[in-house]
Subunit: 284 residues, 2 copies
């Protein structure tokens, strides 16, 4: 691996560049971002050596890169996959960091399975911050994090193996899983907590607005359960669009569960609910 | 204030004793707890000077105390209020730290309004930990916390004023509010987050049990939204019993809100929901 191209130099993309440098990668890192602020910040931080001037220039750089990392929201990942299919070839690796994997993995199967096609490796580092942007990027963002892959092919190509090794050098643990299973599990452990936190924060905003009492009385419980409410729609729109069914299932299940708690506030059923919740936490 | 009696020497009761000492209180602190482990721990930590041997002995000590702090779950607070009514008198202060205030405040009005009755001051320090018990008590637990009061009487007696001063010495900010308003607000900012977190953790326990993938994939989002699931039923039963209506209202509102999110995962309504949630968080 001598040349890497990072498409999308926000938090995850720029952190990938910094992590490569921190792990000793001495080759060239090019980058592209639709926002000139993000591109410039990524160069200034040393996350990329240079930024492409236009998306077309980025496509030209893609011809020369050994590894192309797509670090944009899920629907933009799918757009870039389409564009890259015609300018890439066997021996190259395209990988992404999108939050949902089924649609991306299925598209990869249609675009990148011919013998002369680049290898496509769907990936998902479980790392992030409440706010995005290159300015918050860190070389250590993936240290101790889980980096999931949902490969369509069973045999890794040499460049895929090399990229997996670099991810290990970032300090991340890796795990391969089925793409549909990935999306179902992430609906439960990531998308449901997000939608829940957004719904709770939105409800409280509607109900109390800037009433000072909420700030005075609300403690850690409120802070923690609404923290994810700060997450940007721009990223979550694509998650909701590409994992609608599983997310809807988890939301419906939680609605039912809350109704069960509501109907049993004065019965021993509440004790059972606390016992189950205690058990879940004790495992963690 | 020369003699304080703390009924219930768990986390909040023992922390109150330690906070008194830390703030310079040089008088006597007696204590009582139904659990001999908690009583013994509270003495060993220096939270109380001595523990009553029986509940009857505690009642005798109540006759001599200037201030009696009821630091037990809400229904037990109500029991102790009944018992204390006949052994206390004007000039003494009884105060509690229960999580709901309407039932306690109303009971206080019936028990402690005669001219020769002790003053009853309903209180609620917004402090705690996931786990209880004297062993986790800290002198600094109330530092920077909010300590709410829902007084039935408008004019504080001298001993009430002195107790409010001590609470200020603990580092807590104090705020007086209407008891019904307290319970409604706490339903939103404390009881709803608790029931939500319990329901989510119970649902995940039912669905996944000890599946290792959840531990591997679940990150900060899951950890934070289920953390309160570790809370004990023993305390929350009384909260649910004494604030059923307001808690049920908040749960129902959240169920509706989650259904709204579920039905709009692919529509611009989701953008509005994120915008409201973002606004709520920006105020905090």
């Amino acid at each position: 691996m001598e040349r890497v191209l990072i498409i999308g130099t926000g938090l995850i993309g720029a952190s990938t560049g910094l992590a490569l440098r921190s792990a000793g990668f001495a080759g060239r890192i090019d980058g592209w971002d639709g926002s000139s602020l993000e591109r410039t910040a990524a160069v200034q931080m040393g996350a990329i050596d240079a930024a492409a001037a236009t998306a077309e220039d980025a496509l030209e750089l893609a011809r020369k890169a050994n590894v192309i990392v797509l670090a944009v929201p899920v629907l933009a990942v799918k757009d870039w996959m389409q564009r890259l299919a015609s300018v890439t070839r066997s021996g190259q690796l395209i990988t992404d960091v999108g939050s949902t994997k089924l649609e991306i993995t299925e598209l990869g199967k249609t675009l990148f399975t011919a013998p002369d096609a680049a290898r496509f490796l769907p990936g998902h580092p479980m790392a992030g911050k409440e706010s995005g942007g290159a300015m918050l990027a860190e070389a250590a963002l993936f240290d101790n994090a889980m980096w999931l892959f949902t490969p369509a092919a069973s045999e890794p190509t040499p460049i895929e193996t090399e990229w997996r090794n670099w991810v290990g050098f970032f300090g991340a643990r890796t795990l391969d899983m089925d793409a549909a299973r990935h999306d179902e599990l992430c609906a439960w452990v990531s998308h449901l907590p997000q939608m829940l936190s957004t719904a709770l924060a939105a409800l409280l905003e509607d109900k109390f607005g800037d009433a000072p009492e909420i700030g005075a009385i609300g403690g850690r419980a409120l802070r923690e359960t609404t923290r994810l409410g700060a997450s940007p729609y721009s990223m979550w729109r694509d998650v909701a669009m590409t994992n609608t069914g599983p997310i809807a299932d988890t939301l419906f299940a939680l609605e039912q569960r809350l109704a069960h708690v509501r109907e049993n506030l004065r019965t021993p059923e509440l004790r059972d609910e606390f016992a189950l919740a205690n058990k879940f936490r004790q495992r963690r």
